[in-house]
Amino acid sequence: MSSSNNPSSRKEKSSGERPSKAGNNFRQTFQEISIKHASRRRITNKIVSIIAIVFVIGAIIPLASILFEVIKNGVAVLSVQFLTQPPGAIGSDAGGIGPAIQGTLITVGLASLIGAPIGVLSGVYLSEFATTSSVKGPKQRAISFFANTIRLFNDVLTGLPSIVIGIVGYVAIVLALNSFSVWAGAFALSIIMIPIVSRVSEETLKLVPNSLREAGYSLGISKTKITLFIVLKNAKDGVLTGVILAISRIAGETAPLIMTILGTSLFFTSLTGPVDALPLRIWRLASQPYESAHGFGWGAALVLILIILALSASIRLIARGKGIRVRTETI
């Protein structure tokens, strides 16, 4: 560096005049070009934003009309009897969808109890532990191979049609226990849930700035505690969003439930017996030829949507109540 000191300063001096001349020429050219382009750019901007708005409206219309249709047809049948009674005789407008609401809450709840912790832990492993810097060489390669295998499995599982997972639940649990059961349904749903939660958790945890982990290390805090109380705590909102997303997804699943919990018109009796669920009930009601059954189907659909909404809202509220929320990053 010291030896190149002189030549470099000479170069600067000799080239001192040329760049300013060239700079002026360029500046003129740039200005001419930008003036020419300015009006065209303004028109292009307008067109692009109009196209974007049209597409957004195009995407919202079907969603809004579905919601409107569900609410319009569903509200009519809502009543205490509808929410609490078991289904009445086929074709009559007596009874309700009590067992289906109860069954959905139990099955989805149990599936979440199994799937959410496993999914989050898997995400934590992939993000925080799979790339351990303290181990090197073949061991590190083995760890990263293992991690990539898990990621591949996650992707494959996410893409698998849910009926296939239902068949697995049927073969693995229903045939083994010789009965359709809540366990089988919860198992199938948790298999759908785990890869979603794992992926979202991993991605969210990776967004936590490394400077926070380093701050933890610099205080002599153990890796486990840093992961739990610093990293996970910072990624809490994202991880919860993943869990909510997955719960909403499994709450609406129908195919795997046909193969596992079967559906019944009776209230829940035991975890080893069949149970009803809202998607199953909607499907049954919709395939009946009676006007009253269709009305009940709309009602059940509305209830399912409301349950999912209430669930995500309450999980968010619980999460919000604890700890302090970050206002803005001010540095």
Partner: protein, 285 residues
């Protein structure tokens, strides 16, 4: 933990001094009687194949301030991170050599890396308070997550540490507010308080003022002068005036090597090496 036993004595170590500007005048270290606190012996560090620190050796006296200077990329941060074993946390990073703290090598098999980090605190270049935690919890985090439960003790340490970082008067009524709500300079002092709460013997500061405005920077510089009464400080800086103001010893690094390590006055008035002279006269870097 060192805290639990002689807690009272430990806690009062950081009572703030009245800051008078005289303190910023560089005073030559009293070479007699001062103990060698830290001895860096032939330390090498790599990032993969990149040799970032090349055979650096130097000794640091107790209750002194040592500055690492040099052009950016010369390995100051890496050397600093070798001292508290932070370097090895980076993927693919490797360190060799010995760092003797009070006669014991921190890289010895018997040394616990977490314990080393508790004894050698660190303040980072960019303020990095824990975003989910309040001001109080930021300072208490190191204690709580290292298993200290005694609320009274924690509150006392939090207060003393915030006083030690000259932040107490500004935040005493807002301890429950998020640490991220503070200004950049306050956040950096919060991080300083967080490090002080662990009662470290050595404090490593990596360009602690590079993200701060001049007033906030001079506050940190004043603090360095106060804190060295109780602990040993190593500060990385690319600001040579800052090195001249705060430090007694200065190490000049270039391309991973230690070029010159001498009393700060000598480095700036009478550098021994041509490279040092070129750097401090601003001819490169």
């Amino acid at each position: 933990m060192r805290l639990s036993s002689s807690s009272n004595e430990e806690v009062t170590r950081y009572s703030p001094q009245t800051s008078d500007n005289d303190k910023r005048v560089v005073v030559a270290p009293a070479t007699t009687q001062t103990k060698i606190k830290l001895s860096i012996q032939n330390v090498n560090a790599w990032f993969g194949k990149k040799h970032a620190v090349k055979g650096v050796s130097l000794e640091v006296k107790e209750n002194s301030v040592t500055a690492f200077i040099g052009p950016s990329g010369c390995g100051k941060t890496t050397l600093l991170r070798c001292i508290n074993r932070m370097h090895e946390m980076t993927p693919n990073a490797k360190a060799e050599g010995r760092v003797i703290l009070d006669g014991v090598d921190v890289y010895d098999k018997s040394s616990d890396p977490a314990m080393v980090k508790r004894r050698i605190g660190m303040v980072f270049q960019k303020p990095n308070p824990f975003p989910t935690m309040s001001i109080h919890d930021n300072v208490a985090a190191g204690l709580k997550l290292n298993g200290i439960r005694d609320k009274k003790l924690i509150n006392e340490v939090v207060e003393q540490s915030l006083k030690g970082a000259a932040l107490w008067d500004e935040v005493r009524n807002d301890l429950h507010m998020p640490g991220m709500g503070l200004s950049g300079g306050q956040q950096q002092r919060l991080c300083l308080a967080r490090a002080l709460a662990m009662q470290p013997e050595i404090l490593l500061m990596d360009e602690p003022t590079s993200a701060l405005d001049p007033i906030a920077s001079s506050k940190i510089e004043d603090l360095v002068q106060q804190l060295k009464e109780h602990l040993t400080i190593i500060i990385v800086t690319h600001n040579m005036q800052q090195a001249a103001r705060v430090s007694e010893q200065t190490a000049f690094m270039y391309l991973g090597e230690l070029i010159e390590y001498n009393p700060t006055r000598d480095i700036f008035k009478n550098p021994q090496k041509e490279l040092t002279e070129k750097y401090i006269s601003g001819r490169f870097g």
